[in-house]
């Protein structure tokens, strides 16, 4: 029941010798979701031993090169590796034409379906859903249209109290019904309320990805109480004017958003290449929100399940 995030790249537009441009991988129960795909993502996937074949869904926040120039190489490599199953891409309108042009110009014939899903860049919308996970996008405040994403594990079934049910020996159909919240009548006709037989479902986990954005409290409703919040922190507070102008945030602002959102953990990243040492950014964010960590290439953050009330 894994729910863990791996940072593949933590630099802003200019990569450094230690920091690659942006890409994250979220592992939800061994399903791997790639979020943004800067140049070199396929090399980083190899470096951190994440199997390409396990990726079926890629989310692209916006069309600045440091967030998607790695798609061409990754898509080509998957083809060379013999992929046959579809690859889903969720991205800004226009990315599909862009990819078409690209592959036709470089005479690449894909042997697997590339399925493009256009994002609504103007309002929050459901983007993806399976039996374990729901993904929504929400608008950010950048120089061009840009989306954040929130990944929410779905509420599971109620957990049967083994001791309480032992004597009643319900059938399989009954058990399924009880797990879904139903009451139960035993062989003697006695009625049992669901709460007598079950504990609530385990807590669910969530991850919010706030790609390039200015500090903007309009995103708070979407990220409220998130377990793990990634928020960009391109600059330090002393460069706030530049952050505003270029559509980015400071480390202090990232901390402030995390505090207002009552997040569990804050990861900051997308650092300007001018910062050789990142501790000052970390300290600035921690003044606002102590549970902050630095995104570093290869960092893995595992969010554990916690039993609930």
């Amino acid at each position: 029941m894994t729910f863990s995030l791996t940072i593949l790249g933590s630099s802003s537009a200019l990569p450094t010798s230690e920091r690659t441009v942006t890409a994250h991988v979220l592992n939800v129960h061994e399903r791997f979701f790639l979020i943004d795909c800067g140049e070199g993502t396929q090399m980083q996937l190899r470096r951190y031993r994440i199997r390409f074949a396990k990726i079926h869904n890629i989310f692209i926040s916006h069309l600045h090169g440091d967030h998607f120039y790695g798609l061409f190489g990754l898509i080509s490599s998957l083809n060379l590796m013999g992929r046959k199953v579809p690859l889903n891409i969720y991205g800004p309108p226009g990315l599909d034409k862009y990819l078409d042009l690209h592959f036709s110009a470089s005479t690449v014939q894909l042997d697997y379906p590339l399925v493009f899903n256009s994002l609504d860049m103007e309002k929050a919308a459901k983007v993806y859903e399976d039996d374990k996970l729901m993904v929504e996008s929400f608008p950010l405040d950048h120089k061009i249209e840009c989306c954040g994403f929130i990944f929410r594990e779905k509420v599971g079934e109620r957990r049967i109290k083994k001791e309480a049910v032992k004597e009643l020996s319900p059938g399989i159909k009954d058990i399924l019904e009880i797990k879904r919240g139903g009451d139960f009548t035993d062989r003697d006709g006695k009625h049992w309320k669901n709460e007598e037989l079950t504990d609530p479902p385990r807590s669910t986990r969530s991850y919010a990805y706030c790609s390039d954005t200015r500090y903007n409290e309009a995103i708070l409703p979407f990220i409220k109480n998130v377990d793990l919040l990634y928020h960009e922190a391109t600059y330090m507070d002393e460069m706030r004017q530049r952050a505003l102008k270029t559509g980015h945030s400071t480390a202090g602002e990232a901390g402030k958003i995390a505090a207002s959102a009552d997040a569990g953990i804050l990861v900051i990243g997308h650092f300007s290449s001018r910062y050789k040492k990142l501790e000052p950014l970390l300290n600035e964010a921690r003044l606002q929100f102590p549970d902050t960590v630095l995104a570093e290439d290869g960092l893995e953050i595992d969010i554990q399940l916690t039993p609930e009330g």
Copy 2:
């Protein structure tokens, strides 16, 4: 008077955790020439501390992604770094439209001129010339149109024999004339033949880049006697049929070409990702041509001047 090659990437189409896709940098007297530009080239340039600003000329051999998908990121990064001077790209016809489409689709406005020079893919042709260097392209034998490049240092001036000239004390104009091969008449009217006053110019150095290609002796006239020969060696001899089918060479074939060309040193590269260890490829090439080395990311080969005749 440097003439040295740095290998930025040595893998074939699928990069591995140790080997990036193809890119080479040739340093000729501190002018840097980038040859092919696979994904991740800008990161490799940083890793090996080659200053972006020193690159003014990029040569692209063909339009397979592993040889040019790094252009988009590199060109964008140069823009972010404030480049104003032109960047020359020498590549297959169509690459210019491709780059235009790319930057217009990703809304990148370049603040410096990108000057495209279309290669003749069908016959050998001069591509570039300055006061120190001449570059020619020649056709290779790949699945799509593909060029090799040969970089030849130009013949320098004759070298004045200090001892012989000391007593004659020629003026500056006379010295320039003598260096160019002229004779000299001294104050006493005595005539000196140039050979009495000078030694021949230093030898010149050359580097041939044979990108993706089948074994083909038609390239021999272009690479004859080259000091440093790079030739791809995607497979071992046992996979010769696959090499033929995919338009590539084996390590043994690369060695054979180097021997027939009387090359100085052979560097083999573009290794298939199936080879975890490269010694068997090296040994196979060395059976044909002992002075073979393996291209490895970061390898630098310095070609020294040797006095001549």
